[in-house]
Symmetry: C2
Subunit: 238 residues, 2 copies
Amino acid sequence: MNKIRLFVDHTLGEAQSVPLNKDQAHYIFSVMRKSVGETISIFDGNNGEWEASIEEISKKSGVLFCIKQTKPQIMPPDLWLFFCPLKKVRTDFIVEKATELGVARIIPVQTEHTNVDRIKLSRLSAHAIEAAEQCGGTYIPKIEELQKIKEVLENFPPNRRLLFCDEKLQASEVNLENLKKGKWAILVGPEGGFSEVERNHLKGLKFTFSISLGPRILRADTAAVTAISLWQNYLGDW
Amino acid sequence: MNKIRLFVDHTLGEAQSVPLNKDQAHYIFSVMRKSVGETISIFDGNNGEWEASIEEISKKSGVLFCIKQTKPQIMPPDLWLFFCPLKKVRTDFIVEKATELGVARIIPVQTEHTNVDRIKLSRLSAHAIEAAEQCGGTYIPKIEELQKIKEVLENFPPNRRLLFCDEKLQASEVNLENLKKGKWAILVGPEGGFSEVERNHLKGLKFTFSISLGPRILRADTAAVTAISLWQNYLGDW
């Protein structure tokens, strides 16, 4: 249960040696007090989970050795999440929950009513990694730089559909169970909602499907978790 | 958008005067710098939302006057949430999200693997109130004292069904869309999961319906939000 589980930025495989960076070595040696010969679990985001033995360890560096694969690589469905960054804690929360629930890619977007104009990618990635480490995941969603909603929609990839969580909608315009599985993206708005211009633009796009998330107003972070849950239930791998 | 919206512990109605406590007066007067004659929104959890004018205000006290009802009372479905308290922030989070998503009652429960042995009811209630204030809700879920799971199950009310989020289950044993609407409760386990004894006991009860929340391990707070979302989608008022 409390076994150490770490993401490592190194391709794992049979008989691979894996160097540790300073933070990882400090955590394993100084915090968790592990020593040479003990084993931990590691994953690289692409090659499943491996049991690895500690070959060398000190406060500042260390080397692991891959013994055997303990879990196959499990990829999430091809789902992207577009969300508008909120206050720090709530943005971290969205990244954590999206990682747990299984999305492939996370793209922060800027809209008219988004108050945040930059994000700290390293901070968000760290949250995604921690969520995967804690929850037994083997995949880390790709997190992209902040993009403008206009550009996102202009460059929207063909063959991908967009589930638009429209907070002004009384009832969903589509029934989730009637939608086709495949490449999807979810778009959740900012705290202040979308502007009328943005909303009309979104609703006019042929790849957009609008849904309501119930009669109560949800905070943007709640809407993200709820939308991913429903999507996974109907269109994902649950 | 940024209008003040406050929960008051006083029955609201036509032409009612509403005394403010010290914290509310401080917030309206010192923080938001409102003065006599201005209006704010208030709700009492039972009688909808009211527009109220400020009749008296100072740093320490004040009086409001109900002008007109601006929103009817909206009750959540008859859904209870049983959850095992986690670390502070995650417990706060569950209460906030359950309030937004619409549950009637929140009951913290202690299981074999629950590390928390007391909760601070006033703190949790404050979070529920804040969530309702922020999200336009008119109802505050009742939050109960921490109870032992054994006693909860022994005294489980007749005619209420229990949706058991079983993290060990590969696939749901029931299809949510085939379940009957009515009085329900959701049970989400602690971080360490349920013990085998608890799990077997739960599964043997005739009012229990077991579901899986997908192939990934979810943190307990994520599981709560996901379970409420799915329940609302199939059995609630969405």
